[in-house]
């Protein structure tokens, strides 16, 4: 799915590379995003330690400052350790993976649901549309964090539950966007032409309407992934997110937050920097994408 996503983005950006990379910020953002994604993907290869494997942790190594080594000197904790003796660097890499995959999976599933609902509503019109859209409004009239909090309160904690909550929080957003796009696309004459040519409805929806409704979503979804990462970390921070043994960036920060004032800044500072880096680079890339793909701003 991720690959498809990247492929479509690349397709859309064809020939607009120069416009996209119009300054150092774009290079830095795209570069660091790429780097972070690669780091997350290969966390288990790169990370000096598997922070989820309790056997590899030693609480005797707890709360060591950056640059300390293990008891036997076999490994250096470049970014220090937390109170469990978890290597912060490894924690960040794995946490990055958790945060990213939670966000991406939730976003893609939500997007898929949103696309189906949105297109269906736009095409069906009438009562079906009214009901579906009321449902969407219903969902959207409540801020995401509240909905997520309530859901987490109701479901309990856990990775899968976070994903579910994030999907529920997001799908409506996509549904509304897609419906908007679909309505405006359906009003375009190429859809009329397809109908006039006697093509069956299914074909018109899937071959004509759908492909034209996806691109605007891509831009939104990049930004949405960033938002989702932040939302997930906020939930984890509030204590209703991912489980403690498989920390995401947000949970690492929350854990380290307690040690911030005592001078053991590294436990939450570095995960925080990593979170900021990933979110900011996704946002920057999304921003450039939006500018590049926005026909109104095209030169």
């Amino acid at each position: 799915m991720l690959i498809g996503f990247v492929a479509i983005s690349a397709h859309l950006l064809r020939g607009r590379g120069r416009q996209f990379f119009n300054g150092p910020v774009a290079y830095v953002a795209a570069g660091s995003l790429l780097l972070l994604v690669v780091l997350a993907l290969f966390a288990n290869e790169i990370a000096p330690q598997n922070p989820y494997d309790l056997r590899q942790l030693d609480i005797m190594d707890g709360r060591l400052p950056p640059g300390s080594t293990t008891f036997d000197g076999a490994m250096t904790y470049h970014l220090g350790t937390d109170e469990q003796g978890r290597d912060i660097l490894s924690g960040i890499l794995y946490g990055l993976r958790v945060s990213l995959s939670v966000a991406i999976i939730a976003t893609l599933v939500a997007m898929a649901i949103g696309v189906v609902v949105g297109i269906y509503a736009a095409w069906a019109g009438g009562r079906v549309e009214t009901i579906l859209m009321r449902l969407v409004d219903l969902q959207l009239s409540f801020p995401s964090i509240l909905v997520a909090l309530m859901l987490m309160a109701a479901f309990g904690r856990g990775l899968d539950k976070v994903v579910i909550a994030l999907i529920i929080v997001q799908w409506a957003y996509y549904a509304r966007t897609v419906r908007g796009t679909a309505l405006s696309e359906a009003r375009k004459e190429y859809i009329d032409a397809a109908r006039g040519l006697g093509l069956p409805v299914r074909r018109i929806i899937f071959r004509h309407l759908l492909p034209n409704c996806i691109p605007p979503l891509l831009v939104i979804s990049t930004v949405q992934i960033a938002n989702t990462i932040v939302l997930e970390s906020s939930l984890s921070f509030l204590g209703v997110g991912v489980p403690i043994t498989r920390p995401s960036l947000g949970l690492l920060i929350a854990n380290g937050y307690d040690y911030m004032l005592s001078g053991q800044y590294w436990m939450s500072m570095y995960p925080g920097v990593a979170l900021l880096a990933i979110v900011a680079s996704i946002n920057l890339v999304g921003d450039r994408l939006r500018d590049t793909l926005n026909p109104r701003l095209r030169k």
């Binding site: 309790l54 030693d58 109170e83 469990q84 309990g156 904690r157 209703v240 043994t245």
Partner: protein
């Protein structure tokens, strides 16, 4: 002189009888006193009663203090005590009544207003202790003529009682304590002022404001920023910094709260154990011992608790009633090799899989401690996972026996060994109120007998010996694995000082300015 305190937990009401909960009980002690007081070590001392003694097995006589007045000016007498006991079972919407501590009372006798005789159904040595746990309110202030009360445990007839709300608003907050409640603002703070007519030594503070700062970081930040003079429970990791910062200091003392692991002694298969073909290895005493000695308690105390805890060998710290002398009941020695050998002997040479249930927001570093235990068990081949959830979920699931091993804590409210033994290891028995929190369903008739005997022995020395014996038996059977006793820290400016309390309460009247 003013004192500003940062509270770690907010009381849910100013009503002394509304909620039997730590923060509420702590607040209560400022305004409402009991017949019997309990000191830093939870030793009893005369408060509104000047003395007490058993008349026989089922009758206790309390001599009350003369010349005590409530803050509305009315004089304190034995009827106020009866009135308070009458109110306790009927507080509307109370999530946790104080009846736990009054149910032993069968009847009252008031030979004269300054003498109170209490009848119990059976010998009840804990009566004075229990009389230290609830506050006394004024009958007269609520328009009740004390002499007319017809007491019975089922109810005292139609009496006028103040509403909980009236305490929060201040109207009903009429007590005999060192402080008067000026305001109780939910979420924002509680203001106390000195009771000028207090019968004892006047409180050292003209005014005390207590702000709930329930998150650790902000609470300690408030101390650093000089917004408060005193905070409860500074996070362990910040103690060093507080001490090294000029003008601040930490005071700490062991508490009556033990952190323990309880194991499933009953279910087979046990819900969170894998790799044993449905057998419950925890039923084997060798396995229990192995699990216990696989835990490096000192490492946990040192690393996770920042040295601010004491490794535990039984359920109550040394020096408290029913606990052993210091060193007589040491923590289980850490010996991973022997643990592995024991496992093999028990038929689990390759270990098994287990999940520790733990709350993550209830005790100091609770989930982290569980993680550390998991690390250590993993090293002897017991693959351990952590199921850390918020306290509310944790307790519900624990009470539904969803865990094979769980981490929890127990604070001995009465300050003696009978409390943890009765709650945690005695065989579950609703009628006798045994094993209320024995969610590992441990059962050992020998322990039960010793406890029952102790609870009916009014003689303190004999009772203490019985309680020590019961603890010895339970520990020898590895019934429950005590990890450590929490040490309670308080942080404050160096202009004031505080004597640490085992019950973890923060009592402004005992916070003293340094000369």
């Amino acid at each position: 002189q003013d004192l500003r305190i940062g509270l770690a937990a907010e009381p849910s009401s100013a009503d002394p009888h509304f909620h039997n909960l730590g923060p509420n009980n702590q607040l209560r002690r400022n305004m409402f006193e009991s017949l019997v007081g309990s000191d830093e070590q939870q030793k009893l001392f005369p408060q509104l009663a000047t003395s007490w003694r058993p008349l026989d097995d089922t009758r206790w006589e309390f001599k009350l203090r003369e010349g005590v007045t409530f803050s509305d000016g009315s004089a304190f007498d034995a009827y106020d005590v009866v009135y308070s006991v009458c109110r306790i079972p009927g507080v509307p919407d109370s999530p946790s009544l104080f009846t736990t501590y009054t149910k032993a009372i069968k009847d009252f006798e008031v030979p004269d207003p300054m003498t109170l005789i209490v009848h119990t159904a059976a010998p009840y040595p804990l009566l004075p202790t229990e009389f230290s746990t609830w506050g006394i309110i004024s009958a007269k202030a609520n328009g009740v003529d004390g002499a007319s009360i017809d007491f019975s445990p089922e109810g005292c007839g139609d009496l006028a009682y103040p509403e909980s709300q009236a305490f929060n608003e201040g109207a009903a907050a009429i007590g005999t304590g060192p402080f008067l409640l000026e305001s109780f603002r939910r979420g924002e703070g509680i203001e106390l002022v000195r009771n000028p007519d207090y019968w004892g030594d006047a409180a050292p503070w003209e005014r005390v404001s207590m702000k709930p700062l329930t998150s650790d970081g902000p609470r300690v930040a408030a101390l650093f920023a000089g917004d408060v003079d005193f905070i409860e429970n500074p996070p362990l990791q910040d103690l060093e910094r507080i001490n090294s910062e000029g003008g601040l200091q930490v005071v700490q003392g062991i508490s009556n709260r033990v952190i323990y692991l309880h194991m499933d002694h009953e279910q087979e298969p046990s819900p969170m154990i894998t790799g044993t073909d449905g057998k419950n290895p925890l039923k084997d005493v060798r396995v229990r011992e192995a699990l216990s000695i696989a835990i490096n308690r000192d490492a946990i105390v040192d690393r996770i608790m920042g040295g601010v805890a004491v490794a535990a060998g039984e359920l109550l710290p040394a020096g408290m009633f029913g606990a052993h002398e210091d060193g007589a009941m040491p923590p289980a020695p850490y010996d991973a090799d022997r643990a592995q050998a024991l496992l093999a002997e028990a038929g689990y040479p390759d270990g098994f899989g287990i999940t520790i249930g733990t709350p993550n927001d209830r005790y100091i570093n609770d989930a982290q401690v569980a993680q550390a235990v998991a690390q250590m068990w993993a090293r002897i081949g017991v693959t351990t996972e952590i199921d850390a959830v918020t306290a509310s979920t944790f307790f519900s699931r624990r009470n539904a026996y969803e865990f094979s091993v769980y981490l929890a804590g127990w604070g001995a409210g009465t300050g003696e060994m009978s409390s943890p033994i009765k709650a945690l290891v005695a065989t579950r028995d609703g009628d006798r109120g045994y094993g209320g929190t024995n969610r590992g369903q441990y059962s050992n008739p020998e322990v039960d007998d010793l406890l029952t005997k102790a609870l009916a022995t009014v003689d303190d020395d004999a009772r203490q010996e019985l309680l020590r014996e019961s603890s010895r038996v339970a520990m020898a059977d590895w019934a429950i694995l005590p990890l450590h006793f929490e040490v309670t820290p308080w942080a404050m400016t160096d202009k004031i000082t505080y004597a640490p309390r085992v019950d973890q309460y923060t009592l402004p009247a005992s916070i003293k300015p340094v000369q």
